[in-house]
């Protein structure tokens, strides 16, 4: 009988320990893919080297900012030793929901003013600044199985097109392009964000995907771009804000300042983003 009590007690203790262990392992030491701090001395120069910035800066960013913010995070860390930037990527609409439900974020960078407005109107941020804009491009697999040479080819039957769902910015902008081009496209799939749309193209499952210029550039040799003429193309502006309830307020302001600084803008334009 005593042995059984001992076993149960040990189990209870083990559970307690394991729960504690689980919860502590998600502390800041678990670095995200963007925070592999490479300390290149030239990075960032003296841009926004605000004193007193330390700790972790948690940035919620639209998934289309993945590469640019990865680079910016590294440069910001190099310019501010002791700071760790964690970038949480996702669809702007999901991120806005997470911020509004109290996710501990310092900075929110959205791929559309609509999702930023949701955060500002619920008191999550007092104001925001548009820092870049992004135009659409048609991504096709390198072999171009659907023989896509212009955006109007997407309306042809039998062409498998991946488009972002209408709830996310890239879906809204894609719909505007279709409207401007006066075509009706019946997508094969409505994806959750621009990166999963691109993935369907990279895997050669879709003949074409409506993504941003920056995504085609980031895909490298895995996708080709078919340029959309400027007179029918559409764009989205990206606002950024330091959040009112930021756990690291100083870090949030410094990161936003860095993104708006010439050093940050240089990274963004190198990745294909345009000035707002």
């Amino acid at each position: 009988m005593r042995a059984r009590v001992a076993v149960v007690g040990a189990l209870a203790a083990l559970t307690a320990v394991s729960v504690a262990g689980c919860s502590s392992s998600s502390s800041p030491s678990s670095a995200t893919k963007s925070s592999g701090a490479s300390k290149s001395p030239s990075a960032g120069a003296s841009a926004s080297k605000s004193a007193g910035v330390s700790g972790t800066v948690t940035v919620f960013a639209a998934s289309s900012l993945e590469e640019a913010f990865g680079t910016i995070a590294k440069k910001f860390q190099a310019a501010n030793p002791g700071v760790t930037v964690k970038v949480n990527l996702g669809a702007s609409s999901s991120l806005a929901q997470q911020v509004n439900s109290g996710a501990p974020a310092d900075v929110f960078a959205s791929a559309s003013p609509t999702n930023m407005k949701q955060v500002v109107s619920s008191g999550g941020a007092s104001s925001s600044t548009n820092f870049v804009k992004n135009v659409m491009e048609v991504a096709v697999p390198p072999s171009n199985p659907g023989h896509i040479t212009s955006v109007t080819d997407l309306a042809k039957s039998g062409v498998k097109v991946a488009v972002c769902q209408p709830q996310v910015p890239c879906g809204v902008v894609a719909a505007t392009v279709f409207k401007n081009a006066k075509i009706t496209v019946k997508p094969a799939t409505l994806e959750q964000d621009v990166k999963s749309t691109l993935t369907k193209v990279e895997l050669n499952e879709a003949d074409a995907g409506m993504v941003y210029v920056t995504d085609v550039r980031a895909a490298g040799s895995k996708a080709k771009g078919v340029v959309i003429p400027a007179d029918i193309n559409a764009s989205t502006e990206y606002p950024i804000a330091a959040l009112s309830k930021a756990p690291n307020s100083a870090g949030a302001k410094a990161f936003v300042a860095y993104v708006l600084s010439p050093a940050g803008q240089q990274v963004l334009s190198a990745d294909g983003f345009e000035k707002p």
């Binding site: 009590v5 559970t15 959750q192 499952e205």
Partner: protein
């Protein structure tokens, strides 16, 4: 003085058990508390919701049918045939039980996608591609749900009385007749239990479906995908849709669990 049927729970078990029950039930309770009960009728009459629900039920049923046709023979081989590497094979075919469904979806794309190892042949020989089709949803759900059936049926086969099969065989029945007339009725309850588990798992499938089959209303957008989409814009609708899925699953599991899952054995 206690009646033999009533057992008192030792205090050392009662406390963690209570916390355990609370931990599992509070999220469900929260869903009920926050549900927009007043608007639920209108929401469920929504064309797109009905389409998603119908697609979910149809695909889960098809996936269960495919699982029965393919999974029962697999379970039989695992339970009755002895060959080297059996343990490894058994582990591999039940892997989807623990695999993250998204990983399953990626694996399916690499196998049966238009550019996949097998999918490439399907495309060039028959002009068939599975991604973005309802058939793709069924493939994804079957991949994830079939192991539930296999594990349940295999357990029942292992614990069933082989003496009856041997008796039938000595009386001159062919091997397949023995399987059909003796083995199948013996494991009937487990077969049903396994099918129900398989169906419920298929109904709730999300990760492999959205990765492999995509997301388009009417073709590939099942209820779990509709819930996820709704969460982006209309959390209230997402809660209501979750309730529908929850109700269907609870009704089925509660109705069948006591009656069949305990008898007949089965490892789940």
């Amino acid at each position: 003085m206690e009646s033999p049927g009533v057992r008192r729970t030792p205090a050392l078990l009662a406390t963690p058990a209570l916390i355990g029950f609370a931990f599992l039930l509070i999220p469900l309770l929260a869903l009920l508390i926050r549900a927009p009960w007043r608007g639920i009728g209108g929401l469920l009459a929504d064309h797109q919701v009905l389409t998603a629900l119908r697609l979910s039920l149809e695909c889960a049923t098809c996936a269960t049918a495919v699982s029965l046709v393919l999974g029962v023979p697999v379970a039989w081989v695992l339970a009755r045939v002895r060959f080297p590497g059996m343990a490894l094979l058994r582990a591999l075919v039940t892997l989807p039980l623990v695999l993250p469904p998204v990983v399953g979806g990626v694996a399916l794309l690499l196998a049966f996608g238009r550019n996949g190892v097998v999918g490439r042949l399907l495309d060039t020989w028959f002009g068939v591609t599975l991604p973005f089709t309802t058939a793709g949803v069924i493939v994804a759900e079957t991949f994830v749900a079939m192991p539930f059936l296999i594990v349940t049926v295999e357990g029942a086969l292992r614990s069933s009385d082989m003496g009856l099969e041997e008796a039938a065989a000595t009386l001159g029945a062919s091997r397949f007749t023995v399987f059909r007339r003796v083995t199948l009725p013996l494991i009937g309850p487990s077969l049903l239990a396994g099918s129900v588990l398989c169906w419920a798992r298929a109904l709730g499938e999300f990760g492999a479906t959205i990765t492999f089959a995509g997301n388009f209303p009417g073709t590939t957008q099942t209820m779990p995908l509709a819930v996820y989409n709704a969460l982006e814009t209309d959390p209230e609708a997402a809660i209501a849709l979750s309730l529908v899925l929850l109700a269907v699953a609870v009704i089925i599991l509660a109705a069948l669990r006591d009656r069949w899952l305990r008898r007949g054995g089965g490892t789940l």
